[in-house]
């Protein structure tokens, strides 16, 4: 069967000593930075992004993917032990995970989080491998109009699922789209909105923006908050959950995986949404529902499985359609473009080694997390004991050197500083940076497809509703917006995000 031949190709690539090493290094560094309290996976990825650029494309993406799930995993560790969610996706892990830790059962909580992530990762890898071929086939039917409409749908999804006020998310998308257009116009070669700066010829650097907004800004804001970090003591020998507990968790894990796999593919979806939904569902269907919020182990297993599955299947739209569904995937697109790979359906056919290699490495990376990270939990715990004031100067230096190394120009450092300050402003006024980065990445792509579609239709915007697939995608986007403004949904949404 094709699937297995493809996976075999993938494993052949991923199992070379060098790639195995980069996968491990990515997972390790990702966990290391992800474990730091208050540092979200997206921040981790943004900061570490530049250090993968010097590698060959396949190794670079393998390492980035490793950083990605390492960061997710590290975030859960902090959530359980310190009750500081690194990111929204681990907020629900805090609920029961930290309760377990308080009851002296931090070990089983950490172990079940890792096991659930691995189970989900294994299944999600298979889902990606099976879903990719039909998705790619579909993508090849896409024309400029369909691509444009698909991006509209993706951005709408990002708005609907943004945490803050949706009307601000809309604005952030628009600002992102606008800034994405800075630089030389590919069709005519004329520089646009560059203020005469030659450094802006290729557009505003993607790395300075990402690191500025997610690294520098987050640091500045985090340092301003009072640091509450009461680390719970815990012993390594209490690491393993009992068999009875693992058995209890299996259905929770599978339900979480299924839900996460579906939600991850949706535009705007991904880890955070999946974990919330899985927790809510588990609370309803679990026989142990009364325990939820008081240290139920299923309350850790389900969302952890879901967030890993969702995180992984969110690669599907990226790898097959070339459209990032969320901000983290937008960073991946940026990384691929810097590597000279234009994400899209042609990647799978033109570079099967890269495509399947990355997919196979996802499974290997998950395996490494469980085999290597569980014994190293002691190390992560000691890392949590290092005071934050000794940690963040290192992050500042990493941000600077990372940004500088991309183009060897100080201009990028100033840009990073500007976007860092801007990022603080956005955080303070309650505007999420995630829709912005998505808009920024999609800006040029959207404009190109818009222009092409309009050119082909001789200037008639009807083309977007006359083509059936395009019309369907736009209808979905409209439906999402309508749902968003319905009062009942609005209230429910506020509840979910508050929880």
């Amino acid at each position: 069967m094709d699937l297995f031949a493809n996976l075999a190709t993938g494993f052949a690539v991923a199992l070379t000593p060098a790639n195995l090493g980069f996968c491990f290094l990515g997972a390790l560094i990702g966990t290391l930075v992800g474990v730091l309290p208050g540092i979200a996976p997206i921040t981790t990825i943004a900061i570490l992004l530049p250090f993968t650029f010097s590698l060959p494309p396949t190794s670079s993406l393998i390492m980035l993917a490793g950083i990605f799930y390492g960061a997710q995993y590290g975030g859960s560790t902090t959530a359980i032990l310190v009750n500081v969610p690194g990111e929204s996706s681990s907020i629900v892990t805090c609920l029961d995970g930290h309760q377990m830790a308080k009851q002296g059962r931090a070990g089983p909580a950490l172990a079940i989080a890792a096991i659930a992530s691995f189970v989900a990762g294994t299944i999600a890898t298979l889902v990606i491998a099976t879903a990719s071929a039909p998705m790619t086939w579909l993508a090849l039917k896409f024309n400029a109009a369909e691509y444009f409409s698909l991006m509209v749908l993706g951005l709408t999804g990002a708005v609907v699922l943004a945490h803050g006020a949706p009307e601000k998310a809309v604005a952030m998308v628009l600002v992102g789209l606008l800034l994405g257009l800075v630089g030389i116009d590919v069709n005519t070669g004329s520089p646009r909105m560059t203020m005469g700066l030659s450094d802006l010829g290729d557009g505003i650097g993607f790395v300075p923006i990402a690191i500025g907004m997610f690294g520098v800004a987050e640091l500045a804001v985090t340092l301003g908050r009072p640091q509450d970090r009461s680390l719970l003591s815990f012993k390594l020998r209490d690491l393993w959950p009992s068999w009875a507990e693992i058995r209890r968790c299996v259905p929770a894990m599978l339900r979480g995986t299924a839900l996460g796999s579906i939600l991850g593919v949706l535009p705007g979806g991904g880890a955070a949404l999946s974990s919330f939904a899985a927790y809510a569902m588990e609370k309803k269907v679990s026989r142990n529902a009364a325990q939820f919020g008081r240290g139920a182990i299923e309350g850790v297993a389900a969302p952890e499985a879901a967030n890993n599955a969702g995180a992984q299947t969110s690669f599907i739209p990226l790898l097959t359609l070339g459209i990032p569904g969320n901000a983290i995937m937008a960073l991946m697109v940026g990384a691929m473009m810097i590597q000279g790979i234009q994400p899209g359906p042609q990647v799978m056919t033109a570079q099967p080694q890269l495509f399947w290699g990355v997919i196979a490495s996802m499974w290997l990376g998950n395996l490494m997390l469980i085999v290597l990270n569980l014994p190293m939990i002691g190390l992560w715990v000691s890392l949590l004991r290092v005071p934050y004031r000794a940690m963040f100067p290192a992050i500042v230096i990493f941000c600077c050197i990372g940004t500088y190394s991309v183009g060897n120009t100080v201009f990028d450092i100033w840009a990073m500083l500007l976007f860092g300050v801007l990022g603080v402003f956005f955080i303070k006024v309650g505007a999420e940076p995630a829709p912005f980065i998505l808009g920024f990445i999609l800006g040029p792509l959207m404009e190109e497809n818009f222009r092409r579609a309009m050119y082909l239709s001789r200037g008639s915007p009807m083309v977007f509703v006359e083509r059936p697939i395009s019309a369907l995608l736009l209808a979905l986007a409209v439906a999402l917006l309508v749902i968003l403004v319905l009062p009942a949904v609005k209230r429910k949404r506020e509840e979910v995000f508050k929880e």
């Binding site: 250090f51 010097s54 009307e167 601000k168 809309v170 604005a171 628009l174 600002v175 606008l178 257009l181 116009d185 005519t188 004329s190 646009r192 909105m193 203020m195 520098v216 640091l219 500045a220 804001v221 340092l223 301003g224 908050r225 005071p387 934050y388 004031r389 000794a390 963040f392 100067p393 290192a394 500042v396 230096i397 941000c399 600077c400 050197i401 500088y404 190394s405 060897n408 100080v410 450092i413 100033w414 990073m416 500083l417 860092g420 300050v421 603080v424 402003f425 303070k428 006024v429 309650g430 505007a431 404009e447 818009f450 222009r451 309009m454 050119y455 239709s457 001789r458 200037g459 915007p461």
Partner: protein, 148 residues
């Protein structure tokens, strides 16, 4: 209806209007073209107008959505981190990575309210050595280590 100003919303709206106006001015010299044959200025201008208009709507709304003050900004962390990044940009071309890293770490260290001088100095030396070894010697980034 009484005027109840939501300051953060108003600030965001003002930012949008200003950004839109700025972009509109910058894109002003670009050819707009027609819908069938768009020039380089078509989409940027459209977006700039959209952002301005949207910002204006948000601004009007912010005037009536309830009194809310601008959230407090922790100035010390923000300024010291900004200073550290600026120091990196200014020093690196002249002083090399070693000295620059040291200065950046010292500067960033003061962003924490509980900074300790001795600890910070040691951290500065340690991280400077670490950065030079990792980035220049191991990873081979083309950055000078010393000013000379």
């Amino acid at each position: 209806m009484t005027l109840r100003l939501n300051v953060p919303d108003m600030a965001f709206a003002a930012f949008l209007v200003a950004l839109g106006a700025f972009a509109f001015a910058l894109a002003g010299e670009l050819t707009v073209g027609t819908a069938a044959a768009m020039g380089p200025g078509y989409v940027p201008r459209g977006l700039a107008i959209l952002i301005m208009g949207y910002g204006a709507v948000l601004g009007v709304r912010a005037a009536f959505t309830g009194q809310q003050a601008f959230p407090e900004i922790a100035w010390r962390p923000l300024l010291m981190i900004a200073a550290a990044v600026a120091a990196f940009a200014l020093l690196l071309p002249a002083a090399g990575l070693g000295i620059t890293s040291f200065v950046v770490v010292i500067c960033a260290g003061f962003a924490a309210y509980d900074v300790r001088l001795r600890e910070n100095a040691m951290l500065g030396v340690g991280l400077a050595v670490f950065a030079v070894v990792l980035f220049v010697i191991v990873l081979g980034l083309p950055i000078p280590i010393w000013p000379w």
